[in-house]
Symmetry: C2
Subunit: 222 residues, 2 copies
Amino acid sequence: MTPPIVPFVGKSGSGKTTLLEKLIPELVTRGLRIGLVKHDVHGFELDQPGKDTYRLRQAGAMRVAISSPQQFALIGQVEEELALEALAQRYLGDVDLVLAEGYKRSQLPKIEVCRAARSPELLSSADELLAVVSDLRFEVPCPQFGLEDVDGVADLLQGLLSISKAGTLHTALRVDGREVPLKPFIQEMLSGTVQGLLAGLKGAQGKTIDVRITGDPPIADK
Amino acid sequence: MTPPIVPFVGKSGSGKTTLLEKLIPELVTRGLRIGLVKHDVHGFELDQPGKDTYRLRQAGAMRVAISSPQQFALIGQVEEELALEALAQRYLGDVDLVLAEGYKRSQLPKIEVCRAARSPELLSSADELLAVVSDLRFEVPCPQFGLEDVDGVADLLQGLLSISKAGTLHTALRVDGREVPLKPFIQEMLSGTVQGLLAGLKGAQGKTIDVRITGDPPIADK
């Protein structure tokens, strides 16, 4: 099974790694097994020339693994870059949550890290955002956290996980009668939230639920 | 699906890596996708302190992956060492053949590399051996190849692969009427060989085949 994936995006130097470095231990303390995927567009070299594993990779092995009592490593050659989802499905099936660094072009809802000293503008458009972590405030319809608010971001992620574990419903959204396509993740979030709200309402379980909201939307204008 | 796995064992300095370094390109030339697993009993460090991936692993991520257009890497923390078979099943499902370096305690039939200048004795007992690659000759009931005979070893491995792809039969061996337990790999080798020999014999397909051999065994005494 593929674990939920949340990309952390932001301009270089915005503080993504610094945030993740604080967030991961907090999530681990909460009992979660965390996978991390770093996107490297330039290519990288983990192995060192002259080592056995390096020599055997140079000899043409498509996958080279090293296994020890404490850890294992796998280096694989690919003809084209693995999609984040494919990578998580194939190689990270045993974690609870995958945090990705980079992948700003991913279709997945993202958390953007933005630091005023680096740039006052967001990379992502408002509809791509799951949350913003910044020392600035933006007009975006998603939760915003301060750069030091590790607990807040951890709460959000833990909430999303409990939703994605709760099982999903088919969720359709109509705005003024017209159906709006929803990404699976947003469907899950919406159905999870409605399920949560109706948990105490007798007779609602297993039924078709219609929620109609009229009047002015309570979210900021785009 | 787990690809077939062949451990290459031998005392340190016997020439395992040197042999594999020649063997892998030969197998790749023959169209095979090769995975390589190196057993490291002492632990290893691929990553470099200070790098993002190192920092995030130190922060507690159970799995850290890096993905680029040419290659990807995965480093995983384990509470106990992954068995060779489990590692191949989970992480090397997309290769045709896994060659392992080390794993002398594995139950899998092994190829032992032995060089006179290093040691004139084999590590493995005769019944563990799939083949020996050496500048010496031993009294063992398995194929033996010279240290430079890369083609010979590649032929053997390719033969084993075609057998394991051909499908298996249930194969029982009785010696003087008493059933001898056979490892799955040996069952496959035996059934594959018999299938191959009988391929031209009309009417043998899909039937129960009994082969009885009497007289002195043609193999060396143990």
